[in-house]
Each structure stands twice: as C-alpha cells, then as structure tokens.
Symmetry: C2
C-alpha cells in the first residue's frame, strides 16, 4: 500500500505521503556524486512521477539533467508535466527536439500543451517539425486558444459516440480506439450528433450496469454542464464548484465537442486563483522556490517600491499638518492608530468583496445591497471604536478635546475604509482589471490618506483653530 496518507495532527513534520524527500534526496545525491547511474536508477524507479519531479526540483540545477538523462522517454514524459515551470524549461531546452517529441506522444494533449507553451518559438518549431502531422494539428489547435481559457486547460482526447448507438456498439468502438486517441483516464463518454455537436454525457459506471442492446441515449445524464472552449478558466472552476462534477465536456462556438476538462486540472486553477488573491493582500509576496536570490529580491523590490510611493503620499498628508504636530505631539503618537484601524477595516471589506466576486457569491443586482451592508458594518464599528478609542486617547493624554477628535476621525475613517474597500473591486471589475491583482495597493493608499487627513485635519481645526 504505497503512498498511504497517515493520520496526522495536520502540522507534524514528516511528509503526508510517506515519501521522505530528505532521505531519498541524500541518497540520490550520493549516487550522483559517485557517478553511480545504476544505483540512481534503482533509487528513483519506485517513485511516483510527481514525487520524482519533487526530487528533481530539490537537486542542484547542474545535477538535474544527469538524473533526467537516466530516464527512458516514457518515464520522462510522465515527469515533465509535474515539474515546476522554472525547473522544466531549462531541462526541456537542452533536450534534442526529437527526444521531446517522443516523450510527448505518451501524454494527453493538455499536458503536452503545458510543456510546449513555455518554449521559445524556435524550439517549438523544431519540436513541431519532428512530430507527425496529426500530433502537430492537435498541438496547434491547443495553442490557438488564448491563455486562461478552457481551451488551454482541456485535453482533446475524448470518447465520443454517435447518438443512437447501442451500449455494446459504443464499447466496441472504444476497444477499437488506439492508446493515443484514448484519454489516459475518463469518467464520461460523450454522445454527439452527425455534425459532431455535443448531445449529452454518459457516466462510464452507468454503461457497466446497462445491457449491451440498450440505446446509449437513454443513459445520458440530464445536466452535463458543457463549457465553451473560449470560456475563462475561472468560469470553468465555477462550474466544478457549483455542480460537483469531476469532468466537463468542452464545445466550440458551434456546439461541437472539442475536448474535456477533468477535476485535477481545475484544482490547479483554483489554487492559482487563491494564490492571486493572497498575493493581492500580500502586496508582492510571490515567490518561486527555483528563482535565484537576485530574482526573488527583484520581484519583491517592485512591490516595495510601489509601497514606498504610497507611503510617501500618506506622509505628505502628515507633512501638511507639521505645525499642528509641533504644537500637540500627542497627534504624532495617535495618528498611526487611526490609519491602522482604517487599513484593517478596509482590508476586511476588500477581502470579502474580492472573494465574493471570484466565487460568484456576489451576484449581479446584489452589488449595491452588499456595499450598503459593508458600510453599515463599518459605520457601526466606527461608532464602537469612537467610544473605545476616545476613552483610550482621553485617559492616555488627559485631553477631552483630543479624545473627541480621535473619536470623530475613527468614525470617518472606518466608514470611508468600508466604502473604498468594497467599491475598489467592483470598479476594477468594471474596468476589466482582475480585482485580485490590483486592489490591495489602492486600498492602503486611500485608507492612510483618509485616516491621516481626517485625524490631523480635525485636530488642526478643533484643537488649534
């Protein structure tokens, strides 16, 4: 029973799938250093392709080709799709094109595309020139769909049977299909009409239970949830979430069956969506374990630089009130609290809105109601923290007017923060910018500026006016 996921307390140190990377990696390194190819081959032979890919990723870059060169084309084909892009590209680039082409014949078309789309044009052309005409057509069709569409995610290998076939006829047809035509695994057969248009889906388990003579049309499920090849991948993820399916057929604009998408591909899409939303809040906290330190620092630098710009903007607001701070130094002590509360409240609204839009929980027509609700919550908490914060400020500095200024600034800031945090994602969506990418930075700038302005401006008027 290999790869058994042991019961754990969720956060224990050892790996859930029984593959101990530290041990295997150390052994593999020893074999590599000793130049012992036979030992290396024996060591990695029992590993699942995904685990072997993990092992390759942990090796120093220079040792990776030594290991991959020991793999036969079939094994190499299984491992390539599992490798991280930044590790895979240099490996693939140094393989002879005909070697790549041989490996690719083993894979479903979605994995082939995933590997080829990262190559430069020259190398892509070289690989395409060595594959046969049929494979080339497959690849070129796949690459013709824009990135982030269902067409890029799907595999073109599907099992299609003509409308009106008998179950027995469909099974016989399946048996006649070659390994290359058949998907590596599938859960539905698709019924098509004479023009290749999608008619319905028949779960494979239903076919097992049916007599050979039965018409396949009678086994179709009522809802197959076909998606169009040009649909956004996020729309595909929504179909999987909403309808609890494990695969969906893909059709072209004319309704013709062109491929299928399985749940394992959608899991990747969902992870990428979550990554994008996190990165928005983390403002540039992306990382690629295979980046050099230089690349890592540079990626972070860009976002920190943007942050410096917005922070300077907020500080410029403070600069307007230098005179006030000079007279009442307590203002300098309290002002970061107002900005921090605004940033926090705004982020709460922002996160809920970005997530709600991505998960399609906020539906057309309910946007205004959602906005009002967020602002009402922000306003209620503004009042609550006006009281709490006012008490804190009053007791700390013994100045009732300072407490009043602090309290009023808190209400204004939390109300505006909720408004801005909710409105930004809606506006970005309307401008066709992914709200999960850009909204975090805009929000912080807005809440800082509003927070400092409300507090220091009020102070200038009420305390010094």
């Amino acid at each position: 029973m290999p790869n058994l996921a042991l019961p754990d307390e969720s956060f224990r140190d050892s790996d859930a799938d029984g593959f101990d990377p530290a041990v295997v990696t150390a052994q593999a390194r020893d074999a590599l250093e000793a130049g012992n190819g036979a030992a290396l081959a024996t060591l990695v032979a029992p590993l699942h392709p995904a685990d072997l890919a993990d092992l390759i990723e942990t090796l120093p870059a220079a040792d990776r080709p030594v290991l991959t060169n020991t793999l036969d084309p079939e094994r190499l084909a299984e491992v390539l799709p599992e490798l991280h892009e930044t590790v895979r590209v240099p490996l693939v680039e140094q393989l002879p094109p005909e070697h790549i082409a041989t490996a690719l014949t083993q894979l479903d078309s979605d994995d082939v595309l995933g590997i080829l789309e990262d190559l430069d044009e020259e190398q892509l052309a070289a690989v395409l020139s060595t594959v046969d005409v049929e494979d080339r057509a497959y690849i070129e069709t796949g690459l013709s769909y824009p990135e982030d569409t269902a067409g890029r995610l799907m595999q073109q290998e599907v099992v299609a049977v003509p409308r009106g076939s008998s179950v027995g006829g469909a099974i016989d047809r399946l048996r006649r299909m070659g390994d290359e035509e058949l998907p590596t695994s599938f859960f539905d057969m698709y019924v098509v009409d004479a023009d290749g248009r999608f008619v319905g889906a028949v779960p494979v388990h239903r076919m097992l239970l049916a007599p050979r003579a039965q018409s396949i049309d009678a086994l179709m499920v009522p809802d197959a949830h076909p998606v169009e090849a040009l649909s956004a991948q996020s729309a595909v993820a929504h179909v999987f979430r909403q309808y609890d399916v494990v695969s969906v057929p893909v059709v072209d604009a004319g309704g013709r069956l062109v491929g299928m998408i399985t749940a394992d591909d959608v899991v990747d899409v969902i992870d990428e969506e979550a990554d994008r939303e996190l990165m928005n809040l983390a403002r540039g906290g992306q990382s690629d374990p295979h980046w050099s330190l230089w690349e890592l620092a540079r990626a972070r630098f860009t976002w920190l630089f943007v942050n410096l710009g917005t922070a300077v903007l907020a500080s410029a607001v403070i600069g307007l009130f230098e005179a006030a701070i000079d007279q009442v130094v307590a203002l300098a002590v309290l002002m970061p609290i107002v900005a921090s509360m605004g940033g926090n409240a705004g982020t709460q609204s922002l996160t809920v809105t970005v997530r709600g839009l991505a998960m399609k929980e906020i539906r057309p027509g309910t946007g205004l109601r959602f906005l009002c609700r967020e602002m009402a919550a922000g306003g209620l908490n503004g009042i609550a923290f006006a009281v709490v914060g006012g008490l804190v400020a009053g007791l700390w500095f013994g100045d009732p007017w300072l407490a009043v200024v602090f309290a009023v600034a808190m209400i204004v800031t939390l109300l505006v923060a909720s408004l801005v945090g909710t409105a930004i994602p809606f506006l970005l969506q309307r401008l066709r910018i992914d709200p999960a990418v850009a909204s975090g930075v805009i929000l912080t700038t807005a809440t800082d500026v509003v927070g400092f302005f409300a507090f220091l401006g009020l102070a200038a008027v009420l305390l010094l006016g």
Copy 2:
C-alpha cells in the same frame, strides 16, 4: 444544452452558467406573494439543485420554507446539501424528523453527514430514531470521525469486489447492488481481500475495455493513493494535488476499506484552506452573506479590537520618543513610511511561508535554507531602500543626518520583518497552531514596533544625542 458556460471576458456582469438569478428570483417572489404555488413549482422545476439552492438563499428568510415545502422529498434531498449552512440549519430545524429522514435516504452518506452534523443533539436523536437500523449505523460511524478528518469527508458507499473476481463477476455483483448501496457516481472499483482490506483500485473505464473472463486483479492501477480515515483533510487535499486523482479510497488503521473521497469534496476543502489563509491576511475579513448586520459587525469588531490593541502598543513605542518628535517634527512625517515598508516586506515573507507550508512546498529540512533566503532578500531590499529612501528623506527635509537615520532604520526594519514574517509560521506550526489563522496579527505588531523603535531610537541617539 442547459447551463452552458459562455465565453466571457472573465469580469462581465451576467452569470457564467446561464442562470439569471435576478430574473428567476423576481419571478419566484411574485409567485410567492401571489400565493401561486403552482407557478412557483413550474418556475423552479428545471433548475439544477445547486441553482435552486442559490435561489432559496436570495429569498427573505420567511419565504424560504414556503418554497421548500413545495418540493418533494427527493428534490429537497438534492437541494439541502447545496444550501449554505446558515440557511440550511433553520430550514431543517422546522422540518418534521421523519420528513428529514425520508429525504436523507436519497443522499450519499457524506451529504447526509454534512446536514446532520449541524443539528442539535435533540433533533439529531429524533431523526436517528426514524431511520432504519442500517442507516443509523452509517450515520453514527460517520459522526464518530473527528471534524477535519478524511472520515468526515468520505462517503461510505463504495463498490468493493473480492480479490480474484472476474470482470464479469464484478459487473454482475454491481448489478445486484441496490441503489442505496451504490454511490451516486463512482470512477473506481476497489479490490479487497477476505478481511475487507484494501488491495487495489480498478478504474471503471478499464473494466469497459476488458473481456468478462479477465481477472480484475490484472486491471488494478499501481498507485491508488489510499488515505486513512483519521488523516487530516489538508493531507487528503495534498494527495489530490500531488497525484492528479479524481477519487481516493479511504481505509481504517487496519487497512480495511471504509469509504471513498471524490474530487468535488476536495474542491471544497481547498476553497476553505484558501479562505483561512486569506482571512489571516485580511485580519477578520470573514463574512457570511446570511449573517445579520449585527452578526457581521460583531465578527469584524473582534479583530478590529485586537488591531486596536496592537496599534496602541506600536503607538506606545512612539510615545517613548515624544521628546525627539517635539524637537524634529520631520520624524513624525517619516516614521509611518518605515513601519509601512516593514509591514509590507514582512507580509511578503509571511504569505510565501504560510502558503509554502500549506502546499507542502517547504519540506522538512529545507526550512532553514528557506529562512536564510527570505532574510537575504529582505536584506538586499533593505539596502536598496536605504539608498532610495535616504535620498527621498534627504531631499525632502534637507538634513543629511536624518537621511542616514532613515536609511539605517530601513535596513534594520526590512531585515527583521523578513525574519519575523518567515519565522512566525514555522513557530506556530511547531506549537500546532494553524499558521494560516494567527500569524498576520503577530507580524504587524512586530514590524510596527521594530519599525518605530529602529527609526525613532536611532534618531534620538544620532540627531539629539
């Protein structure tokens, strides 16, 4: 072709699945107000259970039972698992226990558990007393697994065949199984030994292609990735991510087959994981569309209150240096920039670390290397922003010593921020606290305190000392 996901530009307003909630909801409300049950029933009849659930959720709470009462038990059973918990619980609570029990017989055991685990003890006992002995055993077994384990996620309905069966024998066995025993849909048959221990998995599509006389053992796939019933759900998600499977068998500690988990359930787990990580960064930005405004505001209040505490702590640090600020008011203008840069850099490291731990990309033994890398990146950017920030500060206030203080504070703060942002998730994990829940708040407090202390402390020593 219902529910076709149209090509979209990802952010258009209309809904991806062709269900226009605004229109259907308006029509349903009209029918409800007119007391026209027949019109209502016709209106909702063609809807997918998941879409009908969405419709019910958009209705005012008082109208929901009116609609659900028009549904027959089978339809009600399909809709209940799709409803949001906060909408479902009050609906289920007012249904007669025997009505619930009838509905539940239609569902796979994982959906039954999902509904029953939210009931209070009294109602659960009432429902259990009306179901038959076999169903009760199923339910009690399911509820015996702790929350967040594979056992809670799995369905107990599986197709198991004895080792050594022929394909034909297995299919005949399948045909003899009743609807209640059979999973609603399945993609693998599981081979078990005489003691019920899991031996291997046979994809259903392989059975279609095999002759009836063939032994089923020959069709088993080499890696079936069984998980233990007491495994954490996050470990199960890892198996689906790593091995691109759409279902896995679940075994008990003795290796006996007890259930299976399908990809649609894991998609929910992955979404919940992502939600938890987002909420960490959003510091309390959770929301439930069915909460009252009061509940929403209260949930947010708690986190804002924590934030107030940490902000006051940071301000207390500023308070220590009131004298310095009183003399050099430019310090008050510049200090939020240092804290902001520290917060941003720390969040970058924190996000990458939390995500890397959750996705098991950071593996045991590589933690220290990861920490050094993050700190090196933080240090490099500290130097970069010491130069950039120092220039800005120097030009703004025309004081070279202020620029030096600002530059040194930037290096210290960014370095410490990377250290703290990376170290917190590791420490929390070691303390068996989910790093995705608690690390954000700790980080901000630390970076604020360090940022203010470094900048103002240095200023006090160098500028005024």
